[in-house]
């Protein structure tokens, strides 16, 4: 599963670290366990190749020291005024070619911050700050919320914090079918399990290691039947000359398996990358059409130094998908995740 496990020295006796090391660091297929001082010694080091590392990433067990809960980027919301995100992990088990993490991080190794209690404490401060109004908390920005749950048990731990906090709404964004931690507990009204989708043709080509669209739908169906609120995130929208048909098929499949009642929200997201990330990603994958076809650099003040589809393509793609989508859901459940 990993090439090695790195452990920050100060955490060597931490119960979560011990449990993970015991699970993977023993027996005939034992994974090497290596101590480091700070995860940044490895993770932020320059001259690493994300693409090669992604073949067999290492796991780094680290402590996060600050910035547990951060304001979410402006386009990252589902209608709320107060939006925050938190990342207990850096990097994702899946290998989606369009993912901005490849451009953001030097390393493909997974970093798991094991001081969950500090995340919980920071969240509780925010709950108090926003006790009179709804506030939204997004998990799954720098990683997939659920993919690593069988090992990390982070979601299990954090759900307890959200219990009874009606004004604090948690979104778990995922492509994963690792939903056991949710199946084992009572559905929570203030938790949205939000699954990301692209059409089958896109997912099978560009979402390596991620569960198929069909498997994700099966997971959603199970959760919805139990009463969990479901979010649907068609994000990023990927252009193909046949996109109308591709997205029509996807929406048809998803919505035929899900009652409108169980859908909390649906959003569309644009494929946009900071120029710096795009440059790094094209260096890693010079042979990747996804990073070339139809893209251009935006010059408007709002999108300065962003690479995205040309305006005509983007408008056509977004408006086309929005139109099809609104045949399936009421406008009140639709959120456009784009800078306005």
């Amino acid at each position: 599963m990993f090439s090695a496990i790195y452990v920050e020295s100060e955490l060597r006796d931490h119960p979560r670290v011990k449990a993970i090391c015991d699970k993977f660091g023993k027996g005939s297929a034992a994974i090497p366990i290596i101590e480091c001082e700070r995860y940044t010694e490895l993770f932020n080091r320059k001259a690493q190749n994300f693409r090669l590392q992604k073949q067999s990433p290492a796991l780094i067990l680290a402590r996060k020291h600050a910035n547990y809960v951060l304001p979410a980027p402006s386009a990252y919301n589902i209608g709320g005024k107060y939006n925050y995100y938190f990342s207990h992990m850096l990097n994702c088990l899946y290998d989606c070619r369009y993912c901005f993490l490849q451009g953001m991080f030097q390393s493909a190794n997974y970093v798991l911050f094991i001081n969950y209690e500090d995340f919980a404490a920071a969240l509780q401060i925010k709950f108090v700050e926003h006790q009179l109004e709804d506030s939204y908390y997004f998990s799954g920005y720098d990683c997939d919320s659920l993919a690593f749950e069988p090992v990390s048990q982070f979601v299990t731990s954090i759900l307890k914090i959200f219990k009874g906090q009606a004004k604090a709404i948690l979104e778990l964004r995922t492509k994963s079918t690792q939903i056991r931690s949710l199946l084992d507990i009572e559905p929570m009204d203030n938790v949205i399990v939000a699954f990301s989708f692209t059409p089958d043709e896109i997912a099978s080509r560009w979402e390596d290691k991620a569960p198929s669209v069909a498997k994700r739908i099966a997971a959603i169906t199970k959760l919805a039947k139990l009463g969990w609120k479901i979010g649907l995130r068609f994000d990023p929208l990927i252009y193909h000359p046949d996109f109308q048909q591709q997205y029509e098929n996807l929406f048809k499949t998803v919505f035929s398996n899900l009652s409108e009642k169980s859908i909390h929200s649906v959003s569309l997201g644009l494929f946009r990358l900071p120029e710096k990330f795009h440059k790094k990603m094209t260096k890693l994958f010079p042979d990747e059409a996804l990073f070339v076809a139809g893209l251009s650099k935006r010059s408007s003040e709002l999108n300065a130094n962003m690479i995205s589809y040309k305006e005509s393509i983007e408008a056509n793609l977004f408006n086309g998908c929005e139109k099809i989508l609104l045949d399936y859901i009421p406008a009140s459940k639709f959120f456009s995740c784009q800078e306005r």
Partner: protein, 269 residues
């Protein structure tokens, strides 16, 4: 191209014989041996000598072919308090005794050689106080090599030569050569593993052959050269290399003109 860095002539001897390397007599700074896709340099003892020689080889190969990146392997003897002499170990962590800096070589899942923490010391270690493998070069080598190439193409392989029961001062050049010779298979396995990753990367960044043809045709500044290469990558990604062949060479005035033609083509997608 892989560059093997060794401290001692006795360590180098069996490797030179195994890979049939030839001494490059034009080079005097360090004894340098070359063969098919391989250089070996004998650095002398100590991390400074190792770093200097690694930097020297990097400069040397860049003079040959500036487009080629490179892979690096440090091979040498080392001590540990109770590991058996003759055992091969791979650096998973390199500790620089004289500072607080640590280095973390890439851990390859396909290598079966046990991983260890190597502590690079300034003087020969005979106490073996900690559960560390002690050497005198790994750190210098690693720091210098990691300025030349990506982390995945650098490994540091040590053969245990001394421990609590086998005194380092009893080692003779013949013993050192034997220790290395007995581990040639592991050296080859490690070299192949690095080269496997290295070749993968070379394939990923391979520039279409027409790029060289056009580069010869006009003078390109460094910036233009970079732009041109990216445009060739773009056309390759778009599966449109046939467009390059369709360009009427006689109608292209200069480097800027070619770049403009290609940019227009890429932007048409």
């Amino acid at each position: 191209m892989i560059n093997i860095i060794v401290a001692l002539a006795a360590e180098a001897k069996p490797i030179i014989a195994y890979y049939k390397l030839k001494r490059n007599h034009a080079i005097h700074a360090f004894p340098l041996y070359s063969g098919k896709d391989m250089n070996l340099v004998v650095t002398g003892s100590g991390k400074l000598a190792s770093a200097a020689a690694t930097g020297f080889v990097a400069g040397f190969i860049k003079n040959i072919d500036i487009e080629q990146n490179s892979a690096w392997l440090n091979v040498g003897i080392a001590g540990h308090r109770d590991r058996e002499c003759g055992t091969a170990v791979l650096a998973h962590k390199i500790i620089e005794k004289s500072s607080t800096l640590n280095h973390y070589p890439f851990v390859s899942q396909s290598l079966s050689v046990p991983g260890v923490e190597i502590c690079t010391v300034e003087v020969v270690e005979t106490e073996y106080a900690d559960d560390l493998v002690y050497d005198m070069e790994a750190c210098g080598f690693f720091v210098a090599a990691s300025r030349q190439t990506s982390l995945e193409f650098i490994q540091c392989l040590k053969i245990i030569s001394d421990n609590h029961t086998s005194n380092v001062y009893d080692l003779k050049p013949n013993n050192v050569s034997s220790l290395i010779e007995n581990n040639l298979e592991i050296i080859e396995e490690t070299k192949s593993d690095i080269m496997n990753l290295f070749s993968q990367r070379q394939m990923q960044i391979r520039v279409p052959a027409q790029w060289l043809e056009w580069r010869r045709r006009f003078h390109f500044s460094e910036t233009q050269n970079h732009l041109l290469r990216n445009l060739f990558y773009n056309l390759q990604a778009l599966d449109d290399m046939k467009y390059i062949d369709q360009i009427e060479k006689a109608n292209v005035k200069d480097a800027a003109d070619l770049i403009s033609i290609l940019q227009n083509r890429v932007e048409s997608y």
